[in-house]
């Protein structure tokens, strides 16, 4: 006879499709939460009040995406963890966001460059997710794709305004692109988890989205009189929990209140 616990032990030895999907969704959830956390750092510090508003709007959407993705992941991985368990009780090494999303805000141009790279990627990925067989996941993809489409317009518009604005803004925008571009390749990485899920058509693999991403961001960047960087190195590690040194501070801040009140309800 097979008990429930034996089944769980078995599936963790050879990851089940559900466990793989949980891992995959956690990555996307971490991307959204960590980027949202970074954007929160701009609020009350933006160059225009309109941008305090726009960036908080985007951060709010991203936190919303993380909540849905964490909840789904907790249900699939068999642990029953809640959205808050994922956000507030994991350690730095357990987060699997891409390094791009945790890069410090830098000046406004660095943030715009990071937004450009991420929103075009997220937009393509969520559109593809909207076509996946799981109805709940497909519904999430469709909703998130709609929201991210606005984030993309916001990033595109700023790349253009800064690229074609003043010599200083063009210089800063180019520097912002150079700063974040080495971190873009990781977004499209495939590993065994993704390969297994993509093989069964459960979720889209990000790798095939890359040419279209390249085409779209190139159009925006060159349209703004700027150059798409061709970095000589690419950073990786976030997906396997190997983060930047600054990430410790980000997680520490994120979890500080929650951890100060063990057993607290919020």
């Amino acid at each position: 006879m097979t008990t429930t616990s034996e089944t769980r032990t078995d599936t963790s030895a050879v990851p089940s499709a559900d466990a793989d999907l949980a891992t995959y969704l956690l990555r996307l959830g971490d991307d959204a939460l960590v980027l949202g956390q970074r954007l929160c750092g701009w609020i009350t510090r933006a160059p225009l009040i309109e941008e305090d508003l726009a960036l908080s709007n985007i951060a709010l959407d991203l936190v919303g995406h993380a909540r849905t993705l964490f909840t789904l992941a907790g249900r699939l991985d068999g642990t029953g963890r809640t959205e808050d368990d994922f956000a507030f009780t994991r350690r730095e090494r357990e987060f699997t966001n891409a390094l791009l999303t945790e890069l410090p805000n830098g000046d406004f141009a660095v943030t715009v460059a990071r937004q450009l790279a991420h929103t075009h990627y997220a937009s393509l990925l969520y559109e593809a997710l909207a076509g996946c067989p799981d109805p709940e996941l497909a519904a999430f993809g469709a909703r998130a794709a709609k929201e991210v489409a606005f984030h993309r317009l916001h990033a595109d518009r700023w790349v253009r305004q800064l690229g074609l604005g003043t010599p200083e803004s063009a210089r800063r925008m180019q520097r912002g692109l150079e700063r974040v571009w080495p971190y873009t390749a990781e977004l499209f990485d495939e590993d065994d988890v993704v390969r297994r899920l993509a093989a069964t058509g459960t979720v889209p693999s990000p790798a095939p989205l890359r040419p279209e991403w390249e085409r779209r961001v190139t159009e925006v960047v060159t349209g703004a009189g700027l150059t798409v960087p061709t970095p000589s190195w690419q950073a990786r590690g976030g997906r396997s929990g190997l983060h930047t040194e600054e990430f410790t501070d980000l997680v520490g801040e994120l979890q500080s209140v929650h951890r100060q009140f063990p057993g607290g309800t919020w």
């Binding site: 609020i43 009350t44 160059p47 908080s56 951060a59 253009r160 309800t265």
Partner: protein, 357 residues
């Protein structure tokens, strides 16, 4: 144009009419409960009072983002994080509505911000207090926004049309913030003893700022400890009420706030830090300690640590972002030179009188 039976817009004296005739028409509009619109003639004092009040209100929204904004990255649950982001976002939106309302009086947002940054205009001194713990975000929303709703609800019927319309949107959202603040405090009060202690500590620190500073100085002798201050406040309030800018005295609204908070605090199991609070059967209101305005004002001058921090934070953001605004302006000029603007929102018309309904 046919002669109107009642005083309404667009029926007044022709531009260039004698000032007493214009003033009579203005007074008649106020008496009829009509709104004054940007193109209507208005006394200079009315324009000045409104500009100052709306600007101070807009500045308070923008500065008021800071104490709560500092906790966005530390909110202890994702639900609370979402709520707080949405609230701070609303405040930025309120600032924008109100700066737009002020602009209909012939001032410029950039000049108003400059006045804030250089101490010529002020935000509410309520926010010259630090938000020291997570519970402060709840106390601010419950008490400070609660005071704002009571203070501002009558402004939805204020005599200046653009201000009244802005306030209707602001009040709707503020009322939501108060409920969220109360809910946050309730969760803490129902939580661990440590959480409840944090909630009480926050209320201890935010009660007086809300009671004293959100309603302005005492303007009746009953509410003030100093007859001269009260008399001065009363004179300003009388003027503002005659013009229909204000509808109630500061002390009347302050009393209304105390009356609403006491039972809420009792339900939460929190103690409001004023031993004089007790129900007065005869008055039908709660008694509370009169605000010692002079002492309080001295402690909250512009030359205090937190007043400086708020303005410095705001000014630093503005200065750090100068290159971005310059780029946006240069880009807009370039687009304009290149041809007619394309796309939705490229040419947003200014609010017109016709929109006042």
């Amino acid at each position: 144009m046919t002669a109107p039976t009642a005083v309404t817009h667009g029926t007044g004296p022709a531009p260039g009419a004698a000032e007493d005739e214009l003033l009579a028409h203005f007074d008649a509009l106020i008496a009829e409960g009509e709104t004054i619109e940007p193109r209507d003639w208005m006394p200079d004092g009315y324009r000045r009072m409104l500009t100052r009040q709306i600007a101070q209100h807009a500045h308070s929204e923008i500065i008021g983002m800071q104490p709560e904004g500092a906790w966005l990255t530390r909110a202890p649950s994702l639900h609370r994080k979402s709520v707080l982001i949405a609230k701070v976002q609303d405040e930025a939106g309120h600032g924008l509505y109100l700066y737009s309302a002020a602009e209909t009086l012939g001032v410029d947002r950039a000049d108003l911000l400059d006045a804030l940054h250089h101490g010529r205009q002020r935000a509410s001194a309520t926010f010259n207090h630090p938000a020291l713990t997570w519970a402060d975000t709840g106390a601010i929303a419950w008490l400070t926004d609660g005071a704002a709703v009571i203070n501002q609800a009558p402004l939805c019927r204020t005599s200046y049309g653009p201000y009244a319309r802005a306030m209707r949107r602001v009040c709707q959202e503020e009322a939501f913030h108060v409920r969220q603040g109360y809910d946050l405090m309730r969760a803490l009060c129902e939580g661990t003893p440590e959480q409840k202690a944090m909630a009480q500590d926050a209320v201890d620190r935010w009660w007086l700022p809300a009671v004293a500073l959100m309603f302005g100085p005492p303007d009746t002798e009953a509410g003030g400890s100093d007859a001269r201050t009260a008399a001065l406040g009363a004179a300003v309030s009388r003027r503002a009420m005659a013009w229909g800018i204000k509808r109630h005295t500061n002390d009347e609204l302050r009393q209304r706030f105390v009356d609403s908070c006491v039972p809420q605090a009792e339900r939460l199991g929190l103690t409001l830090p004023d031993p004089a609070i007790r129900w007065n059967e005869e008055r039908g209101h709660y008694d509370f300690t009169p605000i010692d305005w002079d002492t309080y004002r001295t402690a909250l001058g512009e030359e205090t640590h937190w007043a400086r921090r708020r303005i410095d934070h705001r000014r630093a953001a503005h200065e750090d972002g100068a290159w971005v605004r310059e780029a946006a302006a240069a880009y807009a000029a370039r687009e304009e030179a290149a041809g007619p603007p394309a796309g939705p929102g490229a040419d947003v018309p200014r609010q017109t009188q016709e929109e006042r309904a």
